[in-house]
Symmetry: C2
Subunit: 329 residues, 2 copies
């Protein structure tokens, strides 16, 4: 019932986490009460925080390195949605008593790997023991030029709605992780699982959307729910053509095999693609951007006056969407 | 097993947490992927993160308003130790399924009250469900002028060691909360409990120590352990005279009643007083500062060459200290 730390915590921090802070002088090698962050002149800091709970947000037996990378990537995806450049992160770990040191070592190794990929460093945090499942908290920091930050507000009627990559893979991937999707090939199941377990934060895209997109969000709750967030914050409605939603080969396979409906895919979360709006006049620029980044950008619908999100099926009728996916404000 | 949020979370955030972000325009009323923080020109941002677990760091039945205030204050105390001015915080809540809305309402009311006291605002966060005990994560932000940040490194042999307030109350307070300290009066037990449940972050002191102290830390792990952290980061040793450690009336009562030893008090955590070093030439300035702030500042010992912390008892011999409190690096 005290906040005091035992030797174990100090040892773990020194051995596995302090090395992850090497690139950040303001982290004081994790030997201080807090860290110092100094954004470059003319820039603001962007802050985002996401939690994951074992057995709720990931399978209890998930590989710790993959889990660490997913935790980091999910937060970096929020920075991407704001057009920020990722810089650092703080980590809060509540771990079950008796967590094996191997697990911590693997977790830190995963962070080290993705720190390299994304150019970020650990700047601080806290490690505590819990009698329940692990709770992982990450606060990510990025920088964005003053006034350049993308938000969820800003879409106007008549604009195009675009999304990067493919949609619905992560929701299918979770089912594959859980042993489902028996009708698909092992390769397709593996590809979908990977999309769930290791999302790709679209940082280069987000940064390039500053000045081009009028609003942006990352697809974490599901395409329809997150489009609903954009609509709510921008005070507009959205109409999406189901056949224009970009699907991967394995996702098309799952549709063909009757393993999922298009409604499932547009409601499924965890894809961490970027969803954004832009004026029709920017279509050429959006296409050119996609080509430059080697990343598919699909135009999936139109911003309208009103409220709510409608997904129109190939029969011209609105898709019936489950309540969970359809977040109407 | 998905990160998707249900209606419940959106409702709670809108009802109880969004109002707490009103004073921070960069919080976007919690309606965005992240928040924007812009430190004033010439200032850096200070970041700190502390977690609390129900049943580990606080009693499961703790009043939620008091708990929220303690969580915030413990983090603000880290900012104080760095000489920073507190500005904002992000909140990560992993709550047991079925947590009563009353609990959330009380928790938010506690935050609202302390936001007012300390001039801070909520800028973002995440709320998730856990199958285990509540895990509360808070990331606090402050600002400090470039180069002015206090750290744990900087103490030099010959300097004085000072501490604010009184030491050992919180450790006794925890025992009082748990039904102990029967030999004390109800008033003394209540006073000690309050010191445990609602620590006072020494923000004004911390800010005033910039340019005066050579290093600082807040007493969270215990006076001896935290002095050990200062010594380790400053590469020095410390010698403390037990009789100079400032004790409250109730703590003196507990000593007299045989409920605790001085070794217990200097090893007890959670006081959240500031421990700092300063040159002998600064004694007058330190005294004047204490008077100006109306806060007792006690000179408790001397920085020496070497390693480790020694607490000398009234008999002139080093106190035997339990391993948990005595963190020797």
């Amino acid at each position: 019932m005290t906040g005091r730390r035992g030797r174990g915590e100090f040892d773990l921090i020194a051995r596995y986490f302090a090395p992850l802070s090497r690139a950040a002088p303001g982290a004081f090698a994790l030997g201080n009460d807090g860290a110092l962050l100094t954004p470059p002149a003319g820039a603001s800091l962007v802050v985002t925080k996401d939690l994951m709970v074992a057995g709720v947000h990931y399978p209890q037996d998930e590989d710790p390195a993959t889990l660490a990378r997913r935790l980091l990537r999910v937060n970096l995806s929020d920075l991407a949605a704001m057009g920020a450049e990722a810089s650092s992160y703080a980590l809060g770990l509540a771990l079950p008593e008796g967590t094996a040191e191997d697990w911590v070592e693997g977790f830190a190794a995963g962070l080290a790997r993705d720190q390299e990929s994304f150019g970020v460093a650990l700047i601080g945090g806290d490690t505590v023991v819990t009698s329940g499942p692990a709770v992982l908290s990450l606060t990510a920091f990025g920088t964005v030029a003053h006034g350049a930050c993308l938000t969820r507000a800003g879409a106007a009627a008549g604009e195009d709605i675009h999304v990067s990559g493919t949609i619905g893979d992560a929701a299918l991937g979770l089912r594959a992780v859980q042993g489902g999707l028996a009708a698909l090939s092992p390769e397709d199941r593996a590809a979908l699982s990977r999309r769930y377990r290791l999302p790709e934060p679209r940082l280069a895209l987000g940064a390039a959307l500053v000045g081009l997109a009028t609003c942006a969000i990352d697809v974490s709750d599901g395409l329809v729910a997150d489009l609903g967030h954009l609509c709510e914050q921008s005070d507009v409605a959205a109409r999406v053509a189901a056949e224009s939603v970009p699907l991967s080969g394995p996702a098309r396979g799952a549709l063909a095999a009757g393993e999922a409906s298009i409604a499932d895919l547009v409601s499924g979360g965890d894809d961490y693609e970027l969803l954004f709006c832009a004026p029709q006049a920017a279509r050429g620029a959006v296409s050119a951007l996609g080509e430059r980044l080697g990343l598919a950008l699909a135009r999936i619908g139109t911003v309208e006056g009103g409220q709510g999100v409608t997904v129109v099926g190939t029969d011209g009728r609105p898709l019936p969407l489950a309540r969970a996916g359809y977040t109407h404000f």
